[in-house]
Symmetry: C2
């Protein structure tokens, strides 16, 4: 059964929440081993420890041949501060591992995909245990790690795919972490952003996505009230900007900052780790 | 005396505020003519009229040889939706005009600078009349238009310079509107963003600014309270990311979303319109 190392490249989670995840795994996935790196519980300003502490923990997890998967504990913000250094220091032990997470962890998933290291996978994270219905989200990720493919995003087909938070992917564009996405289906989701900011992010992102096979829109949730309505919904925004750059808009993706968030292995789903 | 056309590529202002700006100009800059395009007062969802209405008004102002300057009424959001079409339709009458604004108007200033059309100038806008001390800001822009150079940002030197809102410039990167900034001093300011978002924007922006002469940081104001302190101030954030990309950090710039916001003609200040 798989051995899973958990670290927090962005923000910390609590030991109590880690214990809940461990109990769930113990009850439903006997034989699976979860190892929460103590760095998950550090705090340094916004982050789960300093850049050096977060980088070291990630490298310890990824470069240890005893682990089959590295599971990112939680999003928030901070992975982009260590991603480039991490890529430079990952060794052969990282090569066949699954790396799972979403949201801010997308900086690492994207950088790993660009560097062709391991199997980056958009998937729920341990801290999702705090969400309403979060047990199902955590169970979905644990199930995927143990070989169950029922949690895959349902539109996945013969095209290679990736899934990102909209802000995360927009910020990756043009950086040394950005993977080539030609011929990929690109899924994006967003949370807690005004619709004008979503429009602005699509202005930026679509300018960088020429040559993709198409874009799918995940859930855009918890949009804050603005002083006036934006005048377009998120799907109309996505269609508008895709249209300006001749990017096929392919409809909805079953991803988002919620308990229903489905799994998207980067690349071809059938080639993901464990298949 | 200069004739100034005012339009609103982003969000609307009120007729009352326009009248206050006109009274100020009439009292202190006799002979200057301000023409508020009626589009300034339109409203369509988030914007000062539809994309087509905002584009048409901008073209009417910029392509009318009777005007010496185009002054953008207000920021907010929306200029990026019409900038590319505007650039394609500007004619020779736009070539020698000054274009003044900041914040969201930076999409147009950047695109004009890239296309070498007119004289883009970071400067206060008519809607700044609403700020505390806003009369001084509006007076500074009117003074500059009428030939007074005392409002220039004080660090301007023999290097070409530009000034942008941080978010605006970050979103321009890699798009068809982004000017080349090699050997330029780049000034950025921000308002109403969490420090983690400022850090994220610097991660993105500095990856695109290789080859600039240096970065200066304007004011980062109205930072919202987060659930925990970020742990670094904005200058430390700017220094961190400049350091990662070997960009010289040159200190402060006297710009920001406030009444003290100084004037930065894009390029060499001594070559700006009127000198």
């Amino acid at each position: 059964m798989p051995r899973v190392a958990i670290c927090a490249p962005s923000t910390p989670m609590t030991e109590e929440d880690a214990a809940r995840v461990s109990r769930l795994a113990g009850a439903e996935f006997p034989g699976m081993e979860l190892h929460f790196h103590p760095q998950c519980f550090l705090s340094d300003g916004h982050f789960a420890g300093s850049d050096a502490q977060r980088l070291d923990a990630l490298l310890e997890c990824a470069n240890d041949p005893a682990f089959d998967a590295v599971w990112f504990a939680r999003g928030g913000y901070g992975a982009c501060r260590i991603a480039e250094d991490a890529i430079a220091k990952l060794d052969h032990a990282a090569q066949d591992k699954a790396f799972l997470g979403y949201s801010d962890a997308g900086y690492l998933l994207g950088a790993l995909y660009r560097a062709r290291i391991g199997h980056p996978i958009h998937a729920p994270m341990p801290n999702d245990i705090r969400r309403e219905g979060g047990t199902a989200a955590v169970r979905r990720a644990l199930g995927y790690i143990s070989g169950d493919r029922s949690g895959l995003e349902p539109s996945l087909d013969r095209h290679p795919a990736v899934a990102f938070n909209l802000t995360t992917l927009a910020m990756l564009c043009g950086t040394r972490l950005m993977p080539g996405l030609a011929n990929h289906i690109v899924m994006v989701e967003e949370v807690s952003e005004h619709l004008y900011a979503v429009d602005r992010l699509f202005f930026h992102l679509t300018a960088h996505l020429g040559g993709i096979a198409g874009l799918r829109l995940g859930r855009v949730s918890d949009v804050p009230e603005n002083d006036r309505p934006f005048g377009q919904e998120s799907e109309a925004i996505a269609r508008h900007w895709c249209g300006r750059h001749a990017i096929p808009f392919l409809g909805a993706a079953d991803i988002g900052h919620d308990a229903a968030n489905r799994i998207v292995p980067f690349g071809l789903a059938g080639r993901a780790q464990g298949q």
